[in-house]
Symmetry: C2
Subunit: 336 residues, 2 copies
């Protein structure tokens, strides 16, 4: 009985404490790396409205789902998708197991360092390189390789780890949403097992909330221990229309909040806009060639064209990286 | 400052309250519908060990993942999988849209009520019936149909809704695990979109924690609104070796606790047994023909043969439904 009484008292005090905080004079800025402006304001207004108990736009915590693209939305994607850089390095690392690569394209050009030739082979070559380097091992071994690579490989321009080239303002946004009862997901065209190698540590997003492109795996016994072997066969491509399909497949409900940065996110944002509640759609527009990169309609990586037009027409939030963000990367990680 | 101080006080009181509870004399039984015996004891011992801070078997809350089969583990699967009963009803409901079914097998036999002929067509006929009735509509329309059916259809023997034929002891187990920081998942051979129609309300498991067999969907615009159309094509079968494959695909980490009831759960239990920590593997053995059903090695539905041998050999927990469970279904729902 005493325990019960103390629990009640403690809960009452906690409630009081929080209500004092929220009406306090010096509530800390939840998005300190965002400059004041329409983008920041639209986020804060939205979160305030859907979390206001009794308000017309209130959404129950269990339905506060937020989905984020990864490449170009949460971390750098230029000059080349990070996972593709990893795949290129893996061609070199695995060539002893695959001597035939020395004489077969697209591997031959990769091994010769002829990235122009690789680029000329287009998406087909890229898919082949990823499929070959991401299969034939157990999921556990692949995970170990990814983690090892991420602890060593450096970005060619910024000379820091790729996991240091995440966007500080977006980290704050993830935290802000979670503090307001949102469940945050990654919904990315990147490989799900590649992203799971860093999403928890880097973004605080556990593996079960990471949705991405996936290959087929096959259950097998190795030395009487069960393993899953990664097969060179695509199960699911989580890009473009694949994003709402992936959201349905993995989550089974529509998010009310989504952020992307390219045409590959268009359908995810449209699907979110049809959530049947007050919903938020946002795009990161890369406008800062000095601190990061500036690209949109003509970019080979992270092309932003149709989604930008749709965002403008429909009044979605477009973040102007140069003007809306005080800083790009977490302090003391990358030179800015 | 006052708010901060009150928060600290409240937290200290809460901690005290909880520690008084846990050392109290009259801690309520977390599994009241379980008879005292080795099955119940093994569950309580396990949960106590992995949640004991500083203990040798302690597992951090973020890694406390528990996966449950659905059919025969959380609810009744006899005399026929519930989803197949739904599919049969849908053949009748959709025949006006598909007049060709009147003259084509396996639909013709379904419409004639000749379930023996349907059964004789085996798994192929069953898959065809499910694929045909579960495609050609939007995911939203399908969800509406499932929910409507579940609110009306009655079980042939117990004459109550299928969602009333869930196992009370397993509901208590789900609650007990969640109260101890576990995240609970369904990992079932059943269709993911069928299960999502009741898993939240019935088991307290949100859609994103329901893993099942899935079909391909296709993103499209209907009257300028985005929809996902269910296609008659299987994406993924979540049964047998498909269970660890599905766990990897959706969750990305191994559970430490898993419960099943048939040979289709064998690989999930093996995969859990290889979790690298103290892990728990359980099987529900249907031994109660009076209150529910008695079946195992020779059953067409929910066959339990190899997994029972493996459980015995490896010392996994086997629940003897007749002796271990005080009640089967929630009180006041089904006559017992």
């Amino acid at each position: 009985m005493i325990a019960q009484w103390m629990k009640h008292l403690a809960r009452a005090l906690l409630l009081l404490a929080f209500s004092v905080s929220s009406s306090g004079y010096a509530a800390p800025d939840p998005l300190p790396s965002w400059n004041d402006g329409p983008a920041k304001q639209s986020i804060i207004d939205y979160v305030t409205r859907v979390t206001k108990g009794g308000g017309p736009d209130y959404v129950e915590p269990k339905d506060r789902l937020a989905t984020f693209d990864n490449d170009g939305t949460l971390w750098v994607e230029q000059p080349m998708y990070t996972q593709f850089v990893f795949a290129i390095d893996e061609v070199k690392a695995q060539v002893n197991k695959h001597p035939e690569w020395k004489t077969t394209e697209p591997f031959k050009s990769v091994l010769a360092g002829d990235m122009k030739a690789v680029a000329a082979m287009g998406e087909k070559g890229m898919v082949e390189i990823v499929a070959a380097t991401h299969s034939g091992m157990s999921t556990a071994d692949f995970d170990k390789t990814v983690r090892g690579w991420l602890e060593a490989a450096k970005h060619p321009r910024f000379k820091v780890l790729y996991t240091d080239l995440i966007y500080q303002p977006m980290l704050e946004l993830l935290d802000y949403l979670r503090a307001n009862g949102f469940k945050t997901f990654i919904v990315s065209g990147g490989g799900v097992e590649f992203m799971r190698g860093f999403a928890d540590k880097t973004y605080g997003i556990p593996s079960e909330q990471v949705i991405g492109s996936s290959g087929v795996t096959q259950y097998a016994m190795w030395d009487a221990s069960p393993v899953l072997i990664k097969m060179p066969k695509v199960l699911f491509v989580d890009d473009g229309p694949g994003k709402p399909e992936g959201i349905n497949h993995f989550i089974g409900r529509q998010p009310i909040f989504a952020f992307g940065n390219s045409d590959g996110d268009k359908e995810m944002l449209e699907w979110t806009a049809a959530c049947g509640r007050l919903c938020f759609m946002g795009l990161v527009h890369h406008t800062d060639a000095v601190r990061e990169y500036a690209y949109d309609r003509d970019s080979r990586v992270g092309k932003l064209d149709k989604a930008l037009d749709e965002a403008t027409a429909k009044g979605w939030t477009v973040v102007d990286m140069k003007n809306d963000w005080k800083m790009i990367f977490p302090a003391a990680k990358a030179a800015q």
